[in-house]
Symmetry: C2
DNA sequence: ACAAAAGTGTTGCGATTACACCCATGG
DNA sequence: CCATGGGTGTAATCGCAACACTTTTGT
Protein backbone atom coordinates (compact mmCIF):
# COMPACT_ATOMS: atom_id res chain seq x y z
CA UNK A 1 0.00 0.00 0.00
CA UNK A 2 2.77 2.35 0.89
CA UNK A 3 6.17 2.60 -0.68
CA UNK A 4 9.14 1.21 1.20
CA UNK A 5 11.04 3.36 3.66
CA UNK A 6 12.44 6.39 1.94
CA UNK A 7 14.96 8.32 3.90
CA UNK A 8 14.43 7.02 7.37
CA UNK A 9 14.22 3.90 9.38
CA UNK A 10 10.66 3.18 10.46
CA UNK A 11 11.72 1.37 13.62
CA UNK A 12 14.05 3.86 15.21
CA UNK A 13 13.52 7.26 16.63
CA UNK A 14 15.01 9.72 19.08
CA UNK A 15 13.12 11.81 21.57
CA UNK A 16 14.52 14.74 23.48
CA UNK A 17 13.58 15.89 26.94
CA UNK A 18 14.68 19.49 26.76
CA UNK A 19 14.97 21.18 30.11
CA UNK A 20 15.05 24.90 30.68
CA UNK A 21 15.07 27.05 33.80
CA UNK A 22 13.09 30.27 33.86
CA UNK A 23 14.42 31.50 37.19
CA UNK A 24 11.67 29.89 39.22
CA UNK A 25 10.68 26.67 37.54
CA UNK A 26 12.22 23.82 35.70
CA UNK A 27 10.46 23.53 32.36
CA UNK A 28 10.27 21.07 29.51
CA UNK A 29 9.90 22.02 25.88
CA UNK A 30 6.93 20.32 24.26
CA UNK A 31 5.51 20.54 20.79
CA UNK A 32 2.00 20.15 19.63
CA UNK A 33 1.47 17.25 17.37
CA UNK A 34 0.60 18.21 13.86
CA UNK A 35 -1.52 16.13 11.53
CA UNK A 36 -5.02 15.57 10.35
CA UNK A 37 -6.39 15.10 13.82
CA UNK A 38 -5.23 18.45 14.96
CA UNK A 39 -8.48 20.00 13.91
CA UNK A 40 -10.62 17.23 15.37
CA UNK A 41 -12.05 16.75 18.78
CA UNK A 42 -8.90 15.40 20.35
CA UNK A 43 -6.89 18.13 18.76
CA UNK A 44 -3.28 18.71 19.57
CA UNK A 45 -1.92 16.38 22.16
CA UNK A 46 1.52 17.38 23.28
CA UNK A 47 4.63 15.36 22.63
CA UNK A 48 8.36 15.48 23.10
CA UNK A 49 10.43 16.78 20.23
CA UNK A 50 11.73 13.80 18.32
CA UNK A 51 11.95 12.18 14.95
CA UNK A 52 12.65 8.98 13.13
CA UNK A 53 16.28 8.35 12.39
CA UNK A 54 17.50 9.02 8.89
CA UNK A 55 19.26 6.17 7.19
CA UNK A 56 22.99 6.50 7.80
CA UNK A 57 22.40 8.95 10.58
CA UNK A 58 23.97 8.70 13.98
CA UNK A 59 21.57 8.54 16.93
CA UNK A 60 23.17 11.52 18.55
CA UNK A 61 23.20 13.22 15.17
CA UNK A 62 19.48 12.76 14.91
CA UNK A 63 18.98 14.24 18.35
CA UNK A 64 21.13 17.21 17.44
CA UNK A 65 19.16 17.71 14.26
CA UNK A 66 15.88 17.78 16.17
CA UNK A 67 17.32 20.20 18.67
CA UNK A 68 18.79 22.55 16.12
CA UNK A 69 15.58 22.70 14.13
CA UNK A 70 13.58 23.49 17.19
CA UNK A 71 15.76 25.88 19.12
CA UNK A 72 18.17 27.21 16.54
CA UNK A 73 21.04 26.19 18.79
CA UNK A 74 24.03 24.00 18.07
CA UNK A 75 26.49 22.63 20.60
CA UNK A 76 24.07 22.20 23.37
CA UNK A 77 24.25 19.80 26.24
CA UNK A 78 22.84 16.45 25.19
CA UNK A 79 23.02 13.12 26.90
CA UNK A 80 21.50 9.76 26.11
CA UNK A 81 19.77 8.25 29.10
CA UNK A 82 17.56 5.38 28.08
CA UNK A 83 15.86 3.37 25.39
CA UNK A 84 12.17 2.71 25.29
CA UNK A 85 11.22 -0.25 23.22
CA UNK A 86 8.15 -1.84 24.66
CA UNK A 87 6.33 -3.31 21.67
CA UNK A 88 3.04 -1.79 22.64
CA UNK A 89 4.28 1.67 23.43
CA UNK A 90 2.80 2.87 20.13
CA UNK A 91 -0.30 0.74 20.05
CA UNK A 92 -2.71 3.33 21.32
CA UNK A 93 -4.95 3.61 18.30
CA UNK A 94 -4.94 7.32 17.91
CA UNK A 95 -1.21 7.57 18.41
CA UNK A 96 -0.51 4.81 15.97
CA UNK A 97 -2.68 6.29 13.28
CA UNK A 98 -0.87 9.57 13.64
CA UNK A 99 2.48 7.84 13.39
CA UNK A 100 1.70 6.15 10.13
CA UNK A 101 0.09 9.20 8.72
CA UNK A 102 2.86 11.60 9.52
CA UNK A 103 5.62 9.26 8.39
CA UNK A 104 3.78 7.96 5.38
CA UNK A 105 4.80 4.37 5.98
CA UNK A 106 3.35 1.43 7.86
CA UNK A 107 4.94 1.13 11.24
CA UNK A 108 4.85 -1.70 13.69
CA UNK A 109 6.91 -0.84 16.69
CA UNK A 110 9.24 2.05 17.26
CA UNK A 111 12.17 1.87 19.60
CA UNK A 112 13.15 5.29 20.74
CA UNK A 113 16.40 6.44 22.19
CA UNK A 114 15.85 9.14 24.73
CA UNK A 115 18.15 12.09 25.26
CA UNK A 116 17.95 14.83 27.76
CA UNK A 117 19.20 18.25 26.99
CA UNK A 118 19.84 21.39 29.00
CA UNK A 119 19.41 24.76 27.40
CA UNK A 120 19.35 28.39 28.34
CA UNK A 121 15.84 29.50 27.72
CA UNK A 122 16.94 32.99 26.84
CA UNK A 123 19.24 31.76 24.10
CA UNK A 124 16.67 29.57 22.41
CA UNK A 125 14.34 30.72 19.73
CA UNK A 126 11.23 31.99 21.40
CA UNK A 127 8.12 29.92 21.29
CA UNK A 128 6.81 31.85 18.34
CA UNK A 129 10.01 32.03 16.36
CA UNK A 130 9.84 28.45 15.27
CA UNK A 131 6.97 26.83 13.51
CA UNK A 132 6.74 23.78 15.67
CA UNK A 133 4.19 25.10 18.13
CA UNK A 134 6.71 24.61 20.85
CA UNK A 135 6.08 25.72 24.40
CA UNK A 136 7.70 25.48 27.80
CA UNK A 137 5.82 23.57 30.47
CA UNK A 138 6.49 23.31 34.17
CA UNK A 139 7.95 19.91 34.74
CA UNK A 140 5.59 19.15 37.60
CA UNK A 141 2.47 20.23 35.75
CA UNK A 142 2.77 18.44 32.46
CA UNK A 143 -0.28 17.57 30.39
CA UNK A 144 -0.85 14.04 29.20
CA UNK A 145 1.58 13.33 26.43
CA UNK A 146 1.41 10.93 23.53
CA UNK A 147 2.79 7.40 23.69
CA UNK A 148 4.90 6.84 26.78
CA UNK A 149 6.32 10.34 26.72
CA UNK A 150 5.28 11.10 30.28
CA UNK A 151 7.34 8.16 31.40
CA UNK A 152 10.27 9.34 29.32
CA UNK A 153 10.19 12.76 30.92
CA UNK A 154 10.01 11.16 34.33
CA UNK A 155 13.06 9.06 33.71
CA UNK A 156 14.93 11.96 32.14
CA UNK A 157 14.20 14.06 35.18
CA UNK A 158 15.38 11.31 37.49
CA UNK A 159 18.60 11.13 35.50
CA UNK A 160 19.12 14.87 35.65
CA UNK A 161 18.45 14.86 39.38
CA UNK A 162 21.12 12.32 39.85
CA UNK A 163 23.76 13.64 37.51
CA UNK A 164 23.53 17.23 38.61
CA UNK A 165 24.74 16.14 42.01
CA UNK A 166 28.15 15.15 40.71
CA UNK A 167 28.83 17.23 37.66
CA UNK A 168 28.62 20.97 37.22
CA UNK A 169 26.02 20.81 34.50
CA UNK A 170 23.69 23.30 36.15
CA UNK A 171 25.45 26.07 34.25
CA UNK A 172 23.99 24.74 31.02
CA UNK A 173 20.64 25.93 32.32
CA UNK A 174 21.74 29.33 33.56
CA UNK A 175 22.58 32.49 31.67
CA UNK A 176 26.23 33.34 31.09
CA UNK A 177 26.32 35.50 34.19
CA UNK A 178 24.31 34.48 37.17
CA UNK A 179 24.03 34.94 40.90
CA UNK A 180 24.65 32.29 43.51
CA UNK A 181 21.04 32.57 44.50
CA UNK A 182 20.01 31.53 40.98
CA UNK A 183 22.06 28.36 41.25
CA UNK A 184 20.57 27.63 44.61
CA UNK A 185 17.03 28.11 43.38
CA UNK A 186 17.78 25.81 40.48
CA UNK A 187 18.99 23.08 42.82
CA UNK A 188 16.02 23.63 45.05
CA UNK A 189 13.49 23.16 42.29
CA UNK A 190 15.31 20.13 40.93
CA UNK A 191 15.61 18.46 44.31
CA UNK A 192 12.24 19.69 45.45
CA UNK A 193 13.48 20.98 48.77
CA UNK A 194 14.99 24.03 50.36
CA UNK A 195 18.69 24.25 51.01
CA UNK A 196 20.51 26.17 53.71
CA UNK A 197 21.95 29.12 51.90
CA UNK A 198 25.01 29.65 54.08
CA UNK A 199 26.12 26.08 53.65
CA UNK A 200 25.22 26.11 50.01
CA UNK A 201 27.39 29.09 49.14
CA UNK A 202 30.21 27.84 51.29
CA UNK A 203 30.31 24.60 49.37
CA UNK A 204 29.73 26.16 46.01
CA UNK A 205 32.32 28.90 46.27
CA UNK A 206 35.06 26.42 46.97
CA UNK A 207 34.81 25.54 43.28
CA UNK A 208 37.42 27.48 41.35
CA UNK A 209 35.40 27.22 38.18
CA UNK A 210 32.80 29.64 39.52
CA UNK A 211 34.42 33.02 39.04
CA UNK A 212 33.14 36.32 40.45
CA UNK A 213 32.63 39.17 38.01
CA UNK A 214 32.94 42.87 38.74
CA UNK A 215 29.29 43.42 38.25
CA UNK A 216 26.25 43.56 40.45
CA UNK A 217 22.54 43.36 39.92
CA UNK A 218 20.92 46.68 39.07
CA UNK A 219 17.55 48.03 39.94
CA UNK A 220 16.58 45.57 42.63
CA UNK A 221 14.98 46.80 45.81
CA UNK A 222 17.47 45.10 48.08
CA UNK A 223 21.17 44.50 48.35
CA UNK A 224 22.25 43.69 44.80
CA UNK A 225 23.82 40.30 44.20
CA UNK A 226 27.22 39.80 42.67
CA UNK A 227 27.35 38.09 39.31
CA UNK A 228 29.49 35.05 38.63
CA UNK A 229 30.35 33.09 35.54
CA UNK A 230 31.32 29.52 34.88
CA UNK A 231 34.81 28.70 33.66
CA UNK A 232 34.50 25.35 31.94
CA UNK A 233 38.23 25.03 31.36
CA UNK A 234 38.98 25.26 35.03
CA UNK A 235 36.61 22.38 35.59
CA UNK A 236 37.92 20.27 32.76
CA UNK A 237 41.50 20.80 33.93
CA UNK A 238 40.95 19.93 37.52
CA UNK A 239 37.85 17.76 37.48
CA UNK A 240 37.22 18.85 40.98
CA UNK A 241 33.69 17.85 41.75
CA UNK A 242 32.87 20.07 44.60
CA UNK A 243 29.22 19.70 43.88
CA UNK A 244 28.30 16.66 45.79
CA UNK A 245 24.78 16.85 47.01
CA UNK A 246 23.41 14.15 49.20
CA UNK A 247 19.99 15.69 49.52
CA UNK B 1 17.13 -11.90 -2.81
CA UNK B 2 16.11 -12.78 0.69
CA UNK B 3 12.64 -13.07 2.08
CA UNK B 4 11.36 -10.29 4.25
CA UNK B 5 11.94 -10.31 8.00
CA UNK B 6 10.50 -13.42 9.51
CA UNK B 7 10.35 -13.40 13.23
CA UNK B 8 12.68 -10.60 14.13
CA UNK B 9 13.43 -7.02 13.46
CA UNK B 10 16.57 -6.60 11.39
CA UNK B 11 17.42 -3.23 12.87
CA UNK B 12 17.29 -3.93 16.55
CA UNK B 13 19.35 -6.07 18.82
CA UNK B 14 20.36 -6.45 22.42
CA UNK B 15 23.81 -7.26 23.71
CA UNK B 16 24.64 -8.34 27.23
CA UNK B 17 27.82 -7.65 29.14
CA UNK B 18 27.68 -10.45 31.65
CA UNK B 19 29.99 -10.01 34.60
CA UNK B 20 31.13 -12.75 36.91
CA UNK B 21 33.59 -12.86 39.81
CA UNK B 22 35.77 -15.90 40.27
CA UNK B 23 37.21 -14.87 43.62
CA UNK B 24 40.18 -13.07 42.11
CA UNK B 25 39.11 -11.53 38.85
CA UNK B 26 36.18 -9.82 37.31
CA UNK B 27 35.26 -11.72 34.18
CA UNK B 28 33.04 -11.26 31.18
CA UNK B 29 31.18 -14.03 29.44
CA UNK B 30 31.94 -14.15 25.72
CA UNK B 31 30.80 -16.47 23.01
CA UNK B 32 32.55 -17.53 19.92
CA UNK B 33 30.83 -16.49 16.79
CA UNK B 34 29.43 -19.35 14.81
CA UNK B 35 28.99 -19.38 11.05
CA UNK B 36 30.74 -20.31 7.87
CA UNK B 37 33.84 -18.39 8.70
CA UNK B 38 34.46 -20.29 11.86
CA UNK B 39 36.55 -22.81 10.02
CA UNK B 40 38.40 -20.24 7.95
CA UNK B 41 41.52 -18.28 8.59
CA UNK B 42 39.93 -15.67 10.77
CA UNK B 43 38.07 -18.32 12.66
CA UNK B 44 36.09 -17.57 15.73
CA UNK B 45 36.22 -13.97 16.80
CA UNK B 46 34.65 -13.45 20.17
CA UNK B 47 31.50 -11.46 20.73
CA UNK B 48 29.09 -10.48 23.43
CA UNK B 49 26.01 -12.62 23.87
CA UNK B 50 23.17 -10.93 22.07
CA UNK B 51 20.49 -11.34 19.48
CA UNK B 52 18.12 -9.51 17.22
CA UNK B 53 14.83 -8.61 18.81
CA UNK B 54 11.83 -10.75 18.00
CA UNK B 55 8.83 -8.93 16.68
CA UNK B 56 6.54 -8.10 19.60
CA UNK B 57 9.31 -8.75 22.05
CA UNK B 58 10.27 -6.40 24.80
CA UNK B 59 13.89 -5.20 24.82
CA UNK B 60 14.41 -6.43 28.33
CA UNK B 61 12.60 -9.61 27.38
CA UNK B 62 15.07 -10.19 24.60
CA UNK B 63 17.98 -9.67 26.97
CA UNK B 64 16.45 -12.12 29.42
CA UNK B 65 15.97 -14.65 26.67
CA UNK B 66 19.62 -14.40 25.65
CA UNK B 67 20.70 -14.74 29.24
CA UNK B 68 18.49 -17.70 30.01
CA UNK B 69 19.62 -19.59 26.94
CA UNK B 70 23.20 -19.04 27.77
CA UNK B 71 23.37 -19.49 31.50
CA UNK B 72 20.23 -21.42 32.33
CA UNK B 73 19.35 -18.77 34.86
CA UNK B 74 16.22 -16.70 35.24
CA UNK B 75 15.74 -13.71 37.50
CA UNK B 76 19.20 -12.41 37.26
CA UNK B 77 20.39 -8.89 37.68
CA UNK B 78 20.01 -7.01 34.43
CA UNK B 79 20.25 -3.34 33.72
CA UNK B 80 20.12 -1.33 30.54
CA UNK B 81 22.98 1.10 30.27
CA UNK B 82 23.30 2.40 26.74
CA UNK B 83 22.38 2.28 23.09
CA UNK B 84 24.90 1.96 20.33
CA UNK B 85 23.60 3.08 16.99
CA UNK B 86 26.45 4.45 14.98
CA UNK B 87 25.53 3.68 11.37
CA UNK B 88 28.94 2.23 10.62
CA UNK B 89 29.27 0.10 13.68
CA UNK B 90 28.50 -2.96 11.55
CA UNK B 91 30.23 -1.93 8.37
CA UNK B 92 33.38 -3.92 8.91
CA UNK B 93 33.15 -6.23 5.93
CA UNK B 94 33.72 -9.48 7.71
CA UNK B 95 31.34 -8.60 10.51
CA UNK B 96 28.67 -7.49 8.16
CA UNK B 97 28.85 -10.62 6.04
CA UNK B 98 28.48 -12.69 9.16
CA UNK B 99 25.49 -10.69 10.26
CA UNK B 100 23.58 -11.21 7.05
CA UNK B 101 24.52 -14.81 6.86
CA UNK B 102 23.53 -15.74 10.35
CA UNK B 103 20.28 -13.82 10.26
CA UNK B 104 19.39 -14.78 6.73
CA UNK B 105 18.27 -11.29 5.81
CA UNK B 106 19.88 -8.20 4.34
CA UNK B 107 20.82 -5.81 7.08
CA UNK B 108 21.82 -2.22 6.88
CA UNK B 109 22.46 -0.87 10.31
CA UNK B 110 21.74 -2.39 13.64
CA UNK B 111 21.06 -0.37 16.73
CA UNK B 112 21.82 -2.37 19.79
CA UNK B 113 20.62 -1.82 23.31
CA UNK B 114 23.26 -2.81 25.80
CA UNK B 115 22.53 -4.43 29.13
CA UNK B 116 24.89 -5.38 31.85
CA UNK B 117 24.23 -8.33 34.04
CA UNK B 118 25.74 -9.70 37.23
CA UNK B 119 25.77 -13.39 37.84
CA UNK B 120 27.23 -15.89 40.25
CA UNK B 121 29.65 -17.89 38.22
CA UNK B 122 29.05 -20.98 40.30
CA UNK B 123 25.33 -20.92 39.59
CA UNK B 124 25.64 -20.57 35.86
CA UNK B 125 25.87 -23.45 33.49
CA UNK B 126 29.49 -24.30 33.08
CA UNK B 127 31.23 -23.31 29.91
CA UNK B 128 30.71 -26.78 28.47
CA UNK B 129 27.13 -27.24 29.53
CA UNK B 130 25.79 -24.94 26.91
CA UNK B 131 26.43 -25.16 23.22
CA UNK B 132 27.33 -21.58 22.67
CA UNK B 133 31.08 -21.92 23.08
CA UNK B 134 30.84 -19.52 25.97
CA UNK B 135 33.83 -18.70 28.09
CA UNK B 136 34.77 -16.34 30.90
CA UNK B 137 37.45 -13.78 30.16
CA UNK B 138 39.27 -11.47 32.52
CA UNK B 139 37.85 -8.05 31.98
CA UNK B 140 41.25 -6.44 31.65
CA UNK B 141 42.57 -8.98 29.18
CA UNK B 142 39.85 -9.17 26.61
CA UNK B 143 40.55 -10.21 23.05
CA UNK B 144 39.46 -8.09 20.14
CA UNK B 145 35.73 -8.43 19.81
CA UNK B 146 33.48 -8.05 16.81
CA UNK B 147 31.79 -4.76 15.91
CA UNK B 148 32.10 -2.21 18.67
CA UNK B 149 31.78 -4.79 21.42
CA UNK B 150 35.01 -3.77 23.14
CA UNK B 151 33.56 -0.31 23.51
CA UNK B 152 30.34 -1.74 24.85
CA UNK B 153 32.18 -3.72 27.51
CA UNK B 154 34.15 -0.63 28.46
CA UNK B 155 31.04 1.42 28.95
CA UNK B 156 29.31 -1.39 30.81
CA UNK B 157 32.26 -1.65 33.15
CA UNK B 158 32.27 2.08 33.73
CA UNK B 159 28.59 1.87 34.60
CA UNK B 160 29.12 -0.99 36.99
CA UNK B 161 32.03 0.84 38.64
CA UNK B 162 29.81 3.76 39.27
CA UNK B 163 26.65 2.01 40.37
CA UNK B 164 28.32 -0.41 42.74
CA UNK B 165 29.39 2.55 44.84
CA UNK B 166 25.84 3.41 45.78
CA UNK B 167 23.84 0.25 45.63
CA UNK B 168 24.53 -3.10 47.24
CA UNK B 169 24.66 -4.96 43.97
CA UNK B 170 27.98 -6.66 44.69
CA UNK B 171 26.05 -9.55 46.23
CA UNK B 172 24.76 -10.47 42.80
CA UNK B 173 28.30 -11.49 41.99
CA UNK B 174 29.04 -13.39 45.17
CA UNK B 175 27.90 -16.80 46.31
CA UNK B 176 25.05 -17.01 48.80
CA UNK B 177 27.44 -17.13 51.71
CA UNK B 178 30.62 -15.16 51.54
CA UNK B 179 33.33 -13.63 53.68
CA UNK B 180 33.98 -9.95 54.11
CA UNK B 181 37.33 -10.45 52.46
CA UNK B 182 35.57 -11.66 49.32
CA UNK B 183 33.55 -8.46 49.12
CA UNK B 184 36.67 -6.43 49.65
CA UNK B 185 38.55 -8.25 46.92
CA UNK B 186 35.63 -7.72 44.59
CA UNK B 187 35.65 -4.00 45.24
CA UNK B 188 39.39 -3.92 44.84
CA UNK B 189 39.34 -5.51 41.43
CA UNK B 190 36.48 -3.35 40.25
CA UNK B 191 38.07 -0.13 41.46
CA UNK B 192 41.55 -1.28 40.56
CA UNK B 193 43.05 -0.27 43.88
CA UNK B 194 43.65 -1.65 47.34
CA UNK B 195 41.43 -0.68 50.23
CA UNK B 196 42.28 -0.46 53.90
CA UNK B 197 40.69 -3.52 55.37
CA UNK B 198 39.99 -2.18 58.84
CA UNK B 199 38.13 0.79 57.47
CA UNK B 200 36.43 -1.31 54.86
CA UNK B 201 34.93 -3.76 57.34
CA UNK B 202 33.97 -1.01 59.71
CA UNK B 203 31.93 0.70 57.01
CA UNK B 204 30.55 -2.50 55.58
CA UNK B 205 29.42 -4.06 58.83
CA UNK B 206 27.32 -1.07 59.71
CA UNK B 207 24.93 -2.32 57.04
CA UNK B 208 22.20 -4.35 58.65
CA UNK B 209 21.58 -6.26 55.47
CA UNK B 210 24.86 -8.10 55.79
CA UNK B 211 24.10 -10.78 58.33
CA UNK B 212 26.68 -13.04 60.01
CA UNK B 213 26.10 -16.78 59.82
CA UNK B 214 27.13 -19.37 62.39
CA UNK B 215 29.60 -20.86 60.04
CA UNK B 216 33.26 -20.47 59.35
CA UNK B 217 35.58 -21.40 56.56
CA UNK B 218 36.91 -24.95 56.77
CA UNK B 219 40.24 -26.33 55.75
CA UNK B 220 42.14 -23.11 55.33
CA UNK B 221 45.65 -22.82 56.70
CA UNK B 222 44.92 -19.71 58.71
CA UNK B 223 42.28 -18.27 60.97
CA UNK B 224 39.04 -19.21 59.27
CA UNK B 225 36.81 -16.37 58.15
CA UNK B 226 33.21 -16.02 59.25
CA UNK B 227 30.57 -16.35 56.57
CA UNK B 228 27.90 -13.74 55.98
CA UNK B 229 24.85 -13.57 53.80
CA UNK B 230 22.91 -10.76 52.19
CA UNK B 231 19.40 -9.98 53.35
CA UNK B 232 17.78 -8.20 50.46
CA UNK B 233 14.61 -7.43 52.38
CA UNK B 234 16.50 -5.52 55.03
CA UNK B 235 17.95 -3.40 52.27
CA UNK B 236 14.69 -2.84 50.46
CA UNK B 237 12.97 -1.87 53.71
CA UNK B 238 15.50 0.60 54.89
CA UNK B 239 17.26 1.68 51.70
CA UNK B 240 20.23 2.48 53.81
CA UNK B 241 23.07 2.94 51.41
CA UNK B 242 26.02 2.43 53.60
CA UNK B 243 28.12 1.57 50.62
CA UNK B 244 29.36 4.87 49.49
CA UNK B 245 32.76 4.60 48.00
CA UNK B 246 34.57 7.68 46.89
CA UNK B 247 37.59 5.77 45.64
C1' DA C 1 12.43 54.32 57.81
C1' DC C 2 11.07 50.22 55.99
C1' DA C 3 10.94 46.08 53.16
C1' DA C 4 13.45 42.62 50.81
C1' DA C 5 16.92 39.72 49.59
C1' DA C 6 22.29 39.32 49.80
C1' DG C 7 25.87 37.99 52.30
C1' DT C 8 28.63 36.24 56.26
C1' DG C 9 31.17 32.61 60.86
C1' DT C 10 31.20 29.49 64.50
C1' DT C 11 30.42 25.35 66.88
C1' DG C 12 29.37 20.30 67.52
C1' DC C 13 29.15 15.98 65.57
C1' DG C 14 29.75 12.21 62.72
C1' DA C 15 32.47 10.17 59.19
C1' DT C 16 36.95 9.18 57.25
C1' DT C 17 41.74 8.32 57.41
C1' DA C 18 45.96 6.37 58.92
C1' DC C 19 48.06 2.97 61.23
C1' DA C 20 50.10 -2.20 63.87
C1' DC C 21 49.34 -6.14 66.32
C1' DC C 22 47.12 -10.56 68.02
C1' DC C 23 44.37 -14.77 66.67
C1' DA C 24 43.05 -19.28 64.78
C1' DT C 25 44.16 -22.71 61.79
C1' DG C 26 46.79 -26.35 58.77
C1' DG C 27 50.86 -28.27 57.75
C1' DC D 1 56.44 -23.68 65.59
C1' DC D 2 55.79 -21.36 61.54
C1' DA D 3 53.30 -19.37 57.72
C1' DT D 4 49.05 -17.48 56.37
C1' DG D 5 45.40 -14.52 56.16
C1' DG D 6 41.37 -13.08 59.60
C1' DG D 7 40.10 -9.87 62.65
C1' DT D 8 40.33 -5.76 65.82
C1' DG D 9 40.72 -0.05 68.17
C1' DT D 10 42.24 4.63 68.61
C1' DA D 11 43.48 9.30 67.62
C1' DA D 12 43.57 13.23 64.33
C1' DT D 13 41.33 15.44 60.79
C1' DC D 14 37.77 16.83 57.65
C1' DG D 15 33.38 17.78 56.00
C1' DC D 16 28.55 18.66 57.12
C1' DA D 17 24.62 20.52 59.63
C1' DA D 18 22.54 23.83 62.35
C1' DC D 19 21.78 28.33 63.26
C1' DA D 20 20.88 34.59 63.33
C1' DC D 21 22.28 38.91 62.25
C1' DT D 22 24.19 42.79 59.31
C1' DT D 23 24.41 44.98 54.68
C1' DT D 24 22.79 47.26 50.60
C1' DT D 25 19.54 48.87 47.82
C1' DG D 26 14.73 50.98 46.09
C1' DT D 27 10.68 53.10 47.42
Amino acid sequence: MNSPPANFNPHLSVDCVIFGFDGDNLRVLLIKRKGRNTGGTKAGKYKLPGDLIHLKEDLEGAAKRVLAELTGLENIFLRQFSVFGNPNRTTNEEDHAWLEESSGIPISRVVTTAYYSLIRIDKSKTENENNHHASWHKVDELPNLVFDHNQIVEKGLATLRNEIRFEPICFELLPGKFTIRQIQTLYEVIFGKELDNRNFRKKLLKAKYIVPLNEKQKGVAHKPALYYSYNRNKYVETREDVLYYNF
